[in-house]
């Protein structure tokens, strides 16, 4: 019991263990490449045009902040909170977004190529024209999300939740989907190429 408590306390400490100088730089310059921002409070701030690539934002709270055309390439946003945040036309290539809570966030035109979105909560997001090429989508929750004209290329979507997702003109290519997902996508007028496997 004591060991469990110590482990929990250590975990809690690690969550909020950001580097104060890095946080100051981020808030002042909107730019901090490769910085330690674990568990940082970044809510309700405009970071448009900023660069946080390769930074560790795991467990950070980005809710309701604006990251228009911001770069998060190779960043770690695992378990971060980003409710209602705006990532419009940003770049999150190869970023770790696993277990991220981003309900209602805006990913319009965002590049998420090769990002890890396992267990991410993307319910009711606006993700028109987002690019999910080769993204890891294990149990990603897209329920109620707007994915019109988004690109899914070389994805395994079988465990992803797509109930009530808007899939109008969504492009699926070289991907694996469940039969139910395929029929929903076709009904929604998504574009499935010949290399999509429905099983």
């Amino acid at each position: 019991m004591k060991n469990v408590l110590i482990a929990l306390m250590m975990g809690w400490a690690a969550l909020g263990a950001y580097d104060a100088a890095h946080l100051k730089k981020t808030l002042e310059e909107k730019e901090c490449v490769g910085c330690d921002l674990r568990g940082a409070d970044l809510r309700n701030i405009d970071f448009s045009g900023g660069d946080l690539s390769r930074s560790d934002l795991s467990g950070a709270d980005l809710s309701n902040s604006i990251f228009v055309m911001c770069s998060f390439d190779d960043a770690n946003l695992s378990r971060a909170k980003a409710l209602g945040a705006i990532f419009w036309k940003g770049s999150m290539e190869r970023a770790d977004l696993s277990h991220m809570q981003a309900k209602g966030a805006n990913f319009k035109g965002t590049h998420l190529n090769r990002a890890d979105l396992s267990h991410a909560d993307l319910r009711e997001t606006k993700s028109w024209k987002a690019n999910f090429t080769e993204a890891k989508l294990f149990q990603t929750d897209f329920r109620g999300a707007e994915l019109g004209d988004a690109k899914f290329i070389r994805n395994d979507l079988r465990t992803a939740k797509l109930k009530n997702a808007l899939l109008w003109q969504t492009r699926f290519s070289e991907s694996v989907m469940s039969k139910a997902q395929c029929s929903t996508a076709k009904r929604e007028e998504a574009i499935l190429d010949a290399n999509v496997t429905c099983r």
Partner: protein, 129 residues
């Protein structure tokens, strides 16, 4: 000099592009005749899938189309082509402005909506005084 300045100011105001001076708006109002419809002015762009979704799916949806056509006249403006009326700025595309015959902005909706919530919004806006 003062007279020239006043004349130039008056000229600028006359040609400032208010909604009342907007040709598309004027022709929409003219098309209403005596009916009490509202103008739905939608801002679009060529590379805007959400705009296409609204125009090709939502406006034509069976739960929307009848009420929309009975109560609204649609005016489309491509934000990259031609001048936009004053006091009708936008943050995102599509933006939909609901305007009465006199040119008063009654409501603004930003972004696309699915047919069912959009139909509800149309009823709400139509019921606004």
């Amino acid at each position: 000099m003062k007279i020239v300045w006043l004349w130039l100011s008056a000229y600028a105001i006359a040609w400032a592009g208010t909604i009342q001076n907007d040709e598309a708006f004027k022709s929409a109002v003219a098309s209403m005749g005596k009916t009490d419809k509202l103008v739905l002015m939608i801002y679009t762009a060529d590379d805007c899938p959400e705009c296409a979704y609204m125009k090709k799916k939502v406006f034509l949806d069976k739960g929307v189309a009848g009420y929309l056509n009975a109560n609204f006249v649609i005016v489309e403006k491509n934000v990259h082509k031609g001048k936009l009326p004053e006091d009708f700025d936008y943050f995102g595309i599509p933006t939909m402005f609901f305007i009465d015959k006199a040119g008063n902005k009654k409501e603004t909706l930003i972004g696309s909506q699915r047919p069912e919530p959009f139909a509800k919004e149309l009823h709400r806006i139509r019921g606004m005084k």
